[in-house]
C-alpha cells in the first residue's frame, strides 16, 4: 500500500530536511499508529503520502504508484479517488450541512462517485451515518455539532466511496478519553467493513494499546533525530 525507500523532503526555504526515512512499509489492510512528538514531521509525511507535497528525493510508492513520477493533477486525482483524509479538527466546510459535507468527497472524486453510484449516494450516506450515529443529524448545520460529532462526519466523508487508504491526522486530539476510545472503535470497525487501510497519526502514546501495529516516527525519521540532536 505504502512503500518508502530513502525518502527525503525539505520545505522550500528551509535549511534542513524535514523528512529523511530510509524505509517504511504499510501493507493493505493494516491499521497503523504513527507516533511522534509535535514538530517531528508527521503532517509533512502525510502530505507526501497524500500527494500534496512532492518528495525531494528517494522513492515513495502509494497504492502502487510512484509519487515522484505523477503530475500534480494525477496526484490530486489519486488523493480524491483513493484516499480519505481526516484532519485534527475543523474538518467541515461551514456553509454545507452534514450530508453535503459527507458527499463532498464523492463530488470531488469521480471514481468514488462511480463506486457509490449517483443514485445510491443518499442511501450510502444514510448507511454510513447510521453506522456512525449521525443519522438524525444529516440535515444539521455543521456549526451546531459537537467536536466528536464533527470528527465522525469527517470519518463518514473519508469512508464514502470506499477509498483504499484512510489517513487520519490526530483526529482524536480534541476529544476526551472516553470519546476517543469509542471514536477509534467506530473508525476501526468502519475501516474493516470497507476493507480500507488505516494510517493514523498521533503524538498521544496512550493510544498504542489500541492499534495492532505501532510505528515511532522519531525512529524512522532520521531528519528529526539529527535535527533534535543539534
Amino acid at each position: 500500500m505504502i512503500h518508502v525507500q530513502n525518502l527525503t523532503f525539505q520545505y522550500t526555504g528551509s535549511h534542513h530536511l524535514t523528512i529523511n526515512i530510509p524505509s517504511l512499509n504499510i501493507e493493505k489492510g493494516d491499521q497503523v499508529l504513527l507516533r511522534g512528538a509535535s514538530g517531528c514531521g508527521k503532517t509533512t509525511l502525510l502530505g507526501l503520502i497524500a500527494g500534496i507535497l512532492t518528495p525531494t528525493s528517494g522513492k515513495l510508492q502509494v497504492l502502487g504508484r510512484n509519487m515522484s513520477e505523477l503530475s500534480t493533477a494525477q496526484r490530486d486525482s489519486l488523493r480524491g479517488n483513493h484516499i480519505g483524509y481526516i484532519f485534527q479538527m475543523l474538518n467541515l466546510v461551514p456553509y454545507l450541512n452534514v450530508e453535503q459535507n459527507i458527499a463532498l468527497s464523492c463530488h470531488m472524486g469521480q471514481k468514488r462517485m462511480q463506486r457509490v453510484g449517483k443514485d445510491n449516494l443518499t442511501k450510502k450516506i444514510e448507511k454510513l451515518a447510521n453506522n456512525l450515529g449521525l443519522l438524525s443529524l444529516l440535515k444539521q448545520e455543521v456549526t451546531r455539532l459537537s467536536v466528536g460529532q464533527q470528527q465522525r462526519v469527517a470519518v463518514a466523508r473519508a469512508l464514502l466511496g470506499n477509498p483504499e487508504l484512510i489517513i487520519a491526522d490526530e483526529p482524536t486530539s480534541a476529544l476526551d478519553t472516553g470519546n476517543r476510545e469509542s471514536f477509534l472503535k467506530l473508525l476501526f470497525e468502519q475501516c474493516e467493513t470497507a476493507g480500507a487501510t488505516l494510517l493514523f497519526v498521533s503524538h498521544d502514546d496512550s493510544l498504542q494499546s489500541l492499534f495492532r501495529r505501532n510505528l515511532a516516527l522519531s525512529q524512522l525519521n532520521l531528519a528529526h533525530s539529527t535535527f533534535a540532536e543539534e
Binding site: 486525482s77 480524491g80 483524509y85 467541515l92 466546510v93 456553509y95 468527497s105 470531488m108
Partner: protein, 422 residues
C-alpha cells in the same frame, strides 16, 4: 460541475452580507451605465428627430448654423429676409414637392411667434413620420387667428377663444413694442411634440404682415395708419417677405442639385442647408458632454469591480481552512482557481441582471417625468448591441479580476498544504 456551482453559491450565500453589498454596488454601476446610455440615446434621438422629411432649409444670406438655429430651434434671429416672390418661384420649381414658409421676429411673453400657412400643419414632420396634430380647436386661418404650441398653452394657462397681443422682437423688455392694437384670438392648441414646436405660437403669414403695416425699417408707424382689426381682411394683406422656409424635394437624388441651384439663385442671395448635415454638425459641438457622461459611467463600473475584488480578497483569509478541506478531498489547483473565478462570474452576472432590472425600473419611472420636463423621450427598447457589449465587457473584466484572488488562493493552499490554519 453543477456541484461546484452549488459550492460557489453556497459559499457566497455564507458571506451574504458582503455578497449583497458587492452585488448592489455592481448593479448600481450597471444601472447607471445603462441609464446614461439611454439618456444619451434619447437626447440624441429627440434632437435629431426635431425635424424630419425636410430636405432643405432655405433662408436669406447668413450663416448656415444661424439659419438652422432660428428656423428649427427658434434660437437667435435672421439677419436677412427673403422676398415672397423668391419663395413662390422656388415653391413652384418642378423638383419641389412641398414647402413650409416661416416668418419670424415677434414674440408673445418670450415665446416666439411664427407666421406660416396651412402647409405647416399638413406637411411638417418630426421623429420620423409624426405629423402635427391639434389637441383642440383648429389651425390658425383667419388674419388674427393664433394656434398655440402645447407648452405655451400649458405654461400660460390659455384657453380657446382668449385674446392675446404679440410683442415686436424676440425678447420681452419694457421698451419692446406691443402690437396692442391688433389682438389675436386663440383658435387652436397643438398636441405636444416634445420639440421646439411646442414653444411657439403660430399665426398666418398675412397676420404677421398685418401687425407690421405701416412699419418702416423695423420702426413702428409714426401716426395712426387707420388699420384696425375690424376693417382689415386677409385678402387685402399682401405678404411681402418671409424669413425662411423648408423644402421637400420630389426625390432625394435631386436634393444636392436643388441646393446648388438655390444657392446660386440670381435675383437674391440665399442660403440652403441640408438639415441632417447641419444637425449633426451642431450635435458634435455637445459631444464632449456625451463623452464626459461615458467616462463617468465607465469609472463607476471600475469602482464596482474594485469593490468586488476587495470583497473576494478579504474573504480569502477566512477561507484558508475551506480550501485545505477541498484540497484534501482531491480538489486540485485548477479547481480552487475555478471556484474563485466562478464567484466573480456569479457576482458580476447577478450584478448585471439586477442592474438591468434597476435601470429599466428607473427608466419606466423617470420616463414621463423626463419627457415632460426636458422633452427627451428615454428609449425603453430591449438592450442594444452596444449595451450587451458593455455587459459582456464587465463580466469579462470581472473574470479577469477574479484571477487575482484565485491566484492568491492557490498560493495560500499550496503553502498550507494539509495544515489547517485558523
Amino acid at each position: 460541475m453543477i456541484f461546484r456551482l452549488f459550492l460557489v453559491i453556497k459559499s457566497l450565500w455564507n458571506r451574504r452580507f458582503s455578497t449583497l453589498l458587492t452585488i448592489s454596488s455592481l448593479s448600481i454601476s450597471v444601472a447607471l451605465l445603462i441609464g446614461v446610455e439611454r439618456v444619451r440615446q434619447g437626447a440624441r434621438e429627440s434632437f435629431s428627430g426635431t425635424i424630419s422629411k425636410t430636405d432643405l432649409i432655405v433662408g436669406g444670406r447668413g450663416g448656415s448654423m444661424q439659419l438652422l438655429l432660428y428656423t428649427v430651434f427658434r434660437i437667435g434671429n435672421a439677419t436677412n429676409n427673403i422676398s415672397f416672390d423668391t419663395y413662390k418661384t422656388i415653391k413652384n420649381n418642378s423638383q419641389v414637392e412641398w414647402t413650409i414658409p416661416y416668418s419670424l421676429g415677434d414674440s408673445h411673453r418670450s415665446f416666439r411667434v411664427v407666421g406660416t400657412d396651412e402647409n405647416f400643419y399638413e406637411h411638417y414632420r418630426f421623429r420620423g413620420d409624426q405629423i402635427l396634430e391639434l389637441h383642440e380647436g383648429k389651425a390658425a386661418q383667419e388674419l388674427f387667428d393664433v394656434t398655440l404650441g402645447s407648452d405655451v398653452a400649458v405654461k400660460l394657462e390659455y384657453k380657446l377663444g382668449q385674446k392675446i397681443t404679440l410683442t415686436h422682437g424676440a425678447v420681452e423688455s419694457p421698451s419692446a413694442f406691443a402690437h396692442k392694437d391688433k389682438p389675436f384670438t386663440i383658435v387652436g392648441i397643438l398636441k405636444k411634440t416634445n420639440t421646439p414646436i411646442d414653444k411657439s405660437v403660430y399665426i398666418t403669414l398675412q397676420g404677421m404682415e398685418a401687425i407690421h403695416i405701416g412699419w418702416q425699417n423695423g420702426a413702428p408707424p409714426q401716426e395712426d395708419t387707420g388699420t384696425t382689426t375690424q376693417n382689415l381682411r386677409k385678402e387685402d394683406v399682401k405678404v411681402d417677405q418671409i424669413t425662411s422656409f423648408l423644402v421637400r424635394a420630389k426625390s432625394r437624388i435631386q436634393v444636392l442639385n436643388l441646393q446648388r441651384s438655390i444657392s446660386n439663385y440670381e435675383q437674391e442671395p440665399l442660403t440652403a442647408i441640408i438639415p441632417g448635415v447641419a444637425m449633426s454638425e451642431l450635435w458634435s459641438t455637445v459631444e464632449y458632454a456625451e463623452i464626459g457622461l461615458k467616462v463617468v459611467s465607465f469609472f463607476v463600473i471600475v469602482v464596482g469591480l474594485i469593490g468586488m475584488l476587495i470583497s473576494l480578497y478579504t474573504a480569502l483569509e477566512a477561507r484558508r481552512r475551506e480550501m485545505a478541506i477541498l484540497r484534501s478531498v482531491g480538489a486540485g489547483v485548477p479547481t480552487i482557481a475555478m471556484l474563485l473565478v466562478a464567484e466573480a462570474f456569479v457576482l458580476s452576472v447577478t450584478g448585471c441582471i439586477f442592474g438591468v432590472g434597476i435601470a429599466y425600473a428607473a427608466l419606466l419611472l423617470a420616463r414621463p417625468l423626463v419627457e415632460a420636463q426636458i422633452g427627451v423621450l428615454l428609449p425603453l427598447a430591449a438592450l442594444s448591441s452596444l449595451e450587451w457589449i458593455y455587459l459582456a465587457g464587465l463580466i469579462a473584466s470581472a473574470l479577469l479580476l477574479g484571477l487575482l484572488p484565485s491566484w492568491r488562493a492557490v498560493k495560500n493552499s499550496l503553502a498550507d498544504g494539509l495544515t489547517l490554519r485558523m
